[in-house]
């Protein structure tokens, strides 16, 4: 029983990591109908910005909450900037091009960032400084909890709530929803669509940057290719939850995290990745819109 509960907690913590990446993914898709494959690389960039800024300011020797928030903010800002640049120079010129061109560009941007990362950061794994490390572990019976995991989960939840507020309770959010509903109609209504799209990209990238720092904190080994697998897994979670739905992305990520955990814990560890992509295939076959996906009528 304790083993089961421990697996449950581990699965939720892995799932919340996927969720942080997945909500940015799904946000961008909702507005642009573009699967931004470079999202995982922005996540990687966020981790490296976090590492270098922590080293620069000399955090990591002692555990400091203030330091973490500073690093987190900085990394989110830089990633938002990078997100803006990517959107402005890689995707905006293709706004009127067929969908497949943009998709291929997204793959290109992703590879560009991976290999630029290897060039600048070096491809050997780096140690992520422990900016904030709560002392000791909580144990309930023989179930061990790492307070850091709860802390990371807490920050993730706060970010998700902030995002929800942004999308559903602000003017910009309304504009984002309008653009996602119908791009051309929104621009006829006087909504500056290009600005809204840039803004969405920046928010999505900032979330990926935050995820990079938080994942670096919990799994302190970062490298330029670290975004590939989590990026793909977050993509699976997004499809599972329904592309474009924020709630769907969170639920999809948690389900994926738990499923992976139980496969490894009770069955065969080597099937972890096979399971994730098996889920992707199943969902695409049975329920292509995902769990929370809206039914869209293809307009002719």
């Amino acid at each position: 029983m304790t083993e089961f509960i421990q697996h449950l907690i581990n699965g939720l913590s892995v799932g919340s990591m996927y969720a942080l990446i997945a909500i940015g993914y799904t946000l961008v898709f909702g507005v642009l109908q573009l699967i931004n494959f470079a999202h995982g690389e922005i996540f990687m960039l966020g981790a490296f910005v976090g590492m270098y800024s922590a080293l620069f300011f000399g955090f990591g020797q002692t555990s400091s909450l203030l330091g973490l928030f500073l690093v987190l903010t900085l990394s989110m800002l830089v990633c938002a900037g990078v997100g803006y640049v990517i959107e402005r120079f890689a995707y905006r010129p293709l706004r009127k091009a067929p969908r497949i061109n943009v998709l291929i560009t997204a793959v290109g941007v992703s590879m560009f960032l991976q290999f630029t990362g290897q060039l600048f950061f070096g491809s050997d794994p780096k140690f992520f400084p422990q900016i904030y490390s709560p002392a000791g572990y909580w144990s309930v019976g023989s179930v061990q909890l790492n307070p850091l995991q709860f802390f990371v989960l807490g920050i993730s939840l706060c970010l998700m709530m902030a995002l929800h507020r942004l999308v559903f309770h602000t003017r910009m959010g309304r504009a984002m929803r309008a653009v996602s509903f119908n791009h051309d109609l929104a621009s006829l209504m006087g909504i500056p669509t290009n600005r809204v799209i840039s803004y969405t990209f920046m928010v999505g990238s900032a979330l990926a940057g935050a995820a990079g720092v938080l994942v670096g904190l919990t799994y302190p080994k970062i490298e330029p290719l670290m975004g590939v697998m989590p990026g793909l897994k977050a993509f699976v979670a997004v499809v599972l939850g329904g592309v474009g739905s924020i709630l769907g992305a969170v639920v999809g990520s948690l389900i994926l995290g738990l499923a992976e955990e139980f496969v490894v814990g009770y069955w065969a560890p080597t099937y972890r990745d096979a399971l994730s992509f098996g889920i992707l295939i199943l969902i695409l076959l049975i329920k292509p819109r995902g769990l929370f996906g809206k039914i869209q009528i293809e307009k002719v």
């Binding site: 304790t2 083993e3 421990q6 697996h7 581990n10 699965g11 913590s13 892995v14 290897q118 070096g122 491809s123 050997d124 794994p125 140690f127 422990q130 572990y137 144990s139 023989s142 061990q144 790492n146 994942v215 799994y219 302190p220 080994k221 490298e223 670290m226 697998m229 992976e260 955990e261 139980f262 490894v264 814990g265 009770y266 560890p269 080597t270 972890r272 990745d273």
Partner: protein, 378 residues
Amino acid sequence: MKRCAICFLSVFLSLFFSCTQKSSTNQNEIVIGEVGSMTGSEATFGVATHRGIELAVSQINAKGGIKGKTLRVISLDDQGKPDEAATATMRLITQNKVIAILGEVASSRSIAMAPIAQTHKVPMISPSSTNPKVTEIGSHIFRVCFIDPFQGSVMAQFAKDSLKLDKVAILRDVRNDYSVGLADYFTKTFTAKKGKIVLDQSYSAGDIDFKSQLTAIRAQKPQAIFVPGYYTEVGLIARQAKELGIKVPLLGGDGWDSPKLTEIAGSAIHGSYFSNHYSTEDQALHVQAFIKDFKDAYGVTPDGLAALGYDAAKVLAAALERASELNSEEITRAIAQTSNFQGVTGNITIDANRNTVKSAVVLKVAATGFKYLETIRP
């Protein structure tokens, strides 16, 4: 646009020609090749080995070289990827015309390189690939380290006889020939000694979350966990084991030997044990001289891989000196005849299977570094 293209083309062509000119061999030098993971997730393996080789070569050249010629090493990076290692080997042989190759550390990459060296009949010495398959590939492939059946049994002996453990769990890297081999040989020796493997779990290189495997292992209450992986993953595994409240020591092989291990794992790895090729606490004169020279040159203490790189280069140089002629056949024969060569990592005698039989040391990870515990002889 067109002018731009012509510009690019001319730059590329000039680069190409300058490269080909540089690679043409000088009459007064002997060119050997080296393939290593200078970057990538096992970068410290490649860099340490390269430094060891570089030190050996500079010492040889300072003493007048080989047969009056200077020794030159062309080093190529394989980024830790087997396919890159194969490409690099091909390039060294066909383009740079090297007469012998040193490399690789990781068995998976040596296994990718060896068939190419064998077909072109270029002798290859692996400094530290311990998987038995490496030298089985052919008559031109050698190594100067012990092999996994021995290394696995060393840790099993140590666990059973010195630590007096009966129940051990295994966590192996299924994508790594080295790790799978070690885990298998550990299991064989440990069960033969009436020990029990309570659970055999696995992961894939590149994973960052191991908590599910560790939770399953924790439920079986082992007295130690054998993790024959490479340092990056082992560091995270140690950290997560501590988070889950697992207090038993981890056991491992020479893949742990990197300063990054303690950097990533922090205090979580203290009190764990691994087998290695040599200890810096060995007081023999030639070992201490090597450590001093290495520190003077690079400012860091050499790890086991640096020592093996040094030994591999020295063994090759001695063979080149002995060879009656500098052709493939004579060099291969000379390497095969290496006997009782005094290396930093022990006395090196190449046996009929082109392997080296040497003793291993068991080190304990402590806050102050890797501490020598005992030597286990084959």
